[in-house]
Symmetry: C2
Subunit: 189 residues, 2 copies
């Protein structure tokens, strides 16, 4: 089984990515590395830059994953800054901002960046549409999961297995896995 190093400090993300990749024959090992994230609205660019930097510094095959919640009525906020906003405002802050707003439409986006040492980074993206809940609901997942409703339930009400069937992260990783397993056979075997 090939090993890829996943740069993250987020245990919930690690759990999801590990389950998805190992089911496809890719071994995932967590590594913490404070790669410089670009401050820009382009999540592909953030992931590309991060994967390249980490692969070159650590000398390993690297994936990074960047996710964002884009809320229509808030002009896409918190978008690429979802992680910072979660740390400072949390789900309570988002619900406060959304108080009295009828249009609850939102979208979760995920971008996976992959790079080998001295290689060129490639990215894969996934997205899932949903709505912002009116209250926090569910004990599973992490981050904005308990306020993101998809198909009648919040992501916080889904087990990892259930979330992994529909999530934005699944969408991005599925593309990555297909690409990696195809390339891998061609290049390395």
């Amino acid at each position: 089984m090939k090993t890829i190093y996943f740069v993250t400090g987020n245990v919930g993300k690690m759990q999801e990515v590990k389950k998805l990749c190992e089911g496809a024959g890719i071994h995932i090992q967590q590594v913490e590395y404070p790669y410089p994230e670009l401050q820009c609205d382009d999540m592909e660019e953030i992931a590309r830059h991060g994967a390249q930097d980490a692969a070159n510094h650590l000398g390993k095959r690297i994936i990074v994953e960047d996710a964002g919640l884009f809320i229509s009525a808030l002009n896409g906020f918190p978008g690429p800054y979802s992680s910072y906003v979660f740390k400072t405002l949390g789900n309570e802050g988002i619900l406060k901002l959304m108080a009295g707003i009828k249009n609850r439409k939102a979208c979760f986006k995920s971008v996976v960046g992959y790079c080998e040492p001295n290689g060129e980074a490639v990215t894969f993206s996934g997205a899932v549409d949903g709505e912002i809940a009116r209250e926090i609901k569910g004990e599973h997942g992490f981050g904005y999961d308990p306020i993101f409703i998809h198909d009648g339930k919040t992501f916080g009400e889904l087990t990892t297995e259930e979330k992994n069937k529909v999530s934005h992260r699944y969408g991005a990783l599925k593309k990555f896995i297909e690409w990696f397993n195809t390339c891998d056979k061609k290049i390395f075997n």
Copy 2:
């Protein structure tokens, strides 16, 4: 008069910086250049990286300025992401988040980064304490000025001259100007 290029797309900032610097014998010329901003909580690092990148790419003496509004009750939000948050939520969004919150304490921070081509960037910082208003007030300034109260008035109620006597940007630029005018004599004359 020595010319320094100020990388910004913000007309209000340009106006403030120009007045402060030209009063001290430094000619400021605006230049637009989309330098990569790091996504991190360290404003000094963002300014250092930005000034260095712009100086090397443009081959000119460069200053950049990064400012942020740090609200105590919101764990420092919007902080280094003030510009993005202003574009998406605006002052109305901040007031909504602050509804019902007694602790209105806030701080405006500014960091100026300076760099010459192939030189090493230096940074200078300034800060001013204040409070978040309960309503938008004032027609001057830009960004969060109309909701930031200092000494009984919002920054939006001050003219550029008045704001330039007390602002965070003034604090940072004053340090830069002193340093530049001293160094300049030593190195260039």
